[in-house]
Amino acid sequence: MSPEQLALALIEMAARIAPEVIRALSGTDDFDTALARARANVPAAITRDEIDDMVNRHLDRVK
């Protein structure tokens, strides 16, 4: 996959929902800044605790 193909894929995917894409791509960053932004944009995992909290709350509700 070339960088161009990769960029097209991700942009088309992201553009459907995220206007922030434009900001993420505003492209005069140097490599270090772009890498720092990429790291910062990795979202949090969905944890077992989050799931359990939601499930337990609803289990309490239906008791």
């Binding site: 996959m1 960029a7 894409v21 434009i22 791509l25």
Partner: protein, 149 residues
Amino acid sequence: MNRFLSLVVIAALTGCGASALSTHARAASVAGVTLGTVRPVILQHFEQSLGGCQDAACISRQVEQHQAVLFSYNASRAALSTWVEAIALAHAADSQGVTTDALGRAAAGFLAAYVDMVDAGHIIELELPAVPPEVRIIVSGLAPRGDAT
């Protein structure tokens, strides 16, 4: 954003002086924004599904039905993190020419996990931003498991 604008953005990404590693870093950033937007959508869908339940059996069913999409979200997130750190490693090793293909595969790994997540969402009537069909074909040829279509 239409395709034309996408192409304009790509031109900005890959234009004069932009290295492949920087392009990967920016593309990974877009991937992160996308995945970060998907996260609350998945959790909200899960919450709403649980909210429609009136008994514990229904809640158990919802947990089971959402497991695939929850798992593939985390798999996508892990693949994205791997891709980003591979970019950093390639830069640190100053081996851009050697590792560009490997980075492409890391990116394809993310996309394959993302495709799995979108497909898992369909099963529970959760519509997530889809990967264009032509990209699925590309990914299927690059993803480590080769089953992204």
